[in-house]
């Protein structure tokens, strides 16, 4: 059982490390790295599901009987490239946040937002 499910357990642990970084770390770049960890763990899950013991890469050739499952490969191949495109979008949002707030720490951004809210209220009361 230990060897049979080892891949799945590593996937779960990697996924949770990614999730922890996304929740507990305030730095937006670090959060994005956490998201990529999470994302890659899903890739590892799919690819290890596709493996058949004794199988080989799914490229047809003579005198090969057993192939690994090609369907998860096709799904994950496109997912990787879509992943980098969406991460690039996230990074450009981070660049704009840095330009607007002067910081990419979540707490600093929250503090500035609260400050603006408080200022508005004060002005209304006055």
């Amino acid at each position: 059982m230990l060897i049979g499910l080892f891949n799945n357990w590593i996937v779960v642990i990697l996924m949770m490390i990614g999730l922890y970084i996304v929740i507990a770390h305030g730095n937006l770049i670090k959060k994005i790295v956490g998201l990529t960890l999470f994302q890659t763990s899903v890739f590892i899950f799919y690819i290890s599901m596709a493996k058949v013991v004794g199988g080989t890469a799914p490229i047809l050739a003579d005198d090969i009987i057993q192939y690994s499952n090609p369907l998860p490969h096709a799904l994950i191949l496109t997912a990787i490239v879509v992943g980098i495109a969406t991460i690039a979008l996230a990074l450009s949002l981070v660049i704009r946040i840095k330009a607007a707030y002067g910081s990419i720490e979540e707490e600093e951004i929250q503090r500035q937002d609260n400050q603006i809210q408080a200022d508005k209220k004060e002005r209304k009361q006055a």
Partner: protein, 337 residues
Amino acid sequence: MIDIVLLTLLLVVAIAIIRMKDLFAVIMLSGIYGLLSASFFVAMDAVDVAFTEAAVGAGISTLLMLVVITMTGRSENTTRHKPFPALLLVVITGGLLIYGTLDMPYFGSADAPVHSHVAPRYINDSMQEIGIPNIVTSILASYRAFDTFGELVVIFTAGVGVLALLSIVRRPIKGDKIAAVNDSMHEQHLVIRIVTKILLPFILLFALYVQFHGDFGPGGGFQAGVIFAAAIILYAMLFGLSTARIVINQAFIQLIAATGVLLYGCVGLVSLLNGGNFFDYNFLSNDAIAGQHLGILLIEWAVGCTVASVMIIIFFNFADYRERQLSNENQHNQESP
């Protein structure tokens, strides 16, 4: 056995990523993480996926993040946002997931449910139906061409999004041009520059090989696009943005990105007009197999064009934004004393 070692290494790298405060180190580690997972994919027989992950996870994504931390700063704040509730949540979720894995079929078993539905048809019949040896390309470009079309549109949309967020129409301030910041390595790193100049044609040629050999071996439009873009980015890094902008016209590259998506959609439309279903390549030619070959060639080409140009657009916009920031700072510095 090697996969267990690689997975353990992945775990070690992930733990190191949590503990590091220096974002430069974190990003380098995430590059190593990408390379390790690419090696793991090779061990799992997923050669196409490994190819993509090596080019994307270890290459382009590391590079893009490095460009971003030059603008946002490289150290992380040490305060944590509610670490103990987060840890509790993560442990509970992970525990439930591990409990869920107890019902999973064991690793590598040939009678797992995932191997029993549609996969046997791809493996047994794709040679007769599509006529190319690489089954992953058959699925990606023919059986599931509609999915791939959707994904290509997502990539294109992400490129448009980056343009919308970062690209500002340049207007000259009071008639004088924005001072170009020369951050190229033109004066230094002679060896790197010469080696790059020698290697560049081969990298581009390799990208084309990967593009057109994807039917027979690992490769295809996605990988080729990323490798092509990596070559252009390498050039831009070593010879400066202003030189690279002369080589790669931005309006042209944006046109190529849109043309790729259009070409892909048109292949579907032509097969529709010839009396088949959307993306049914059998109707592209009189001979079904020849039609499949033509269809796959065209859409792989479309994917390669869009992926390469979107990656180039993303990098150029990041670097462009940084250059503008630096030139603004320089102007401030000149005015203040």
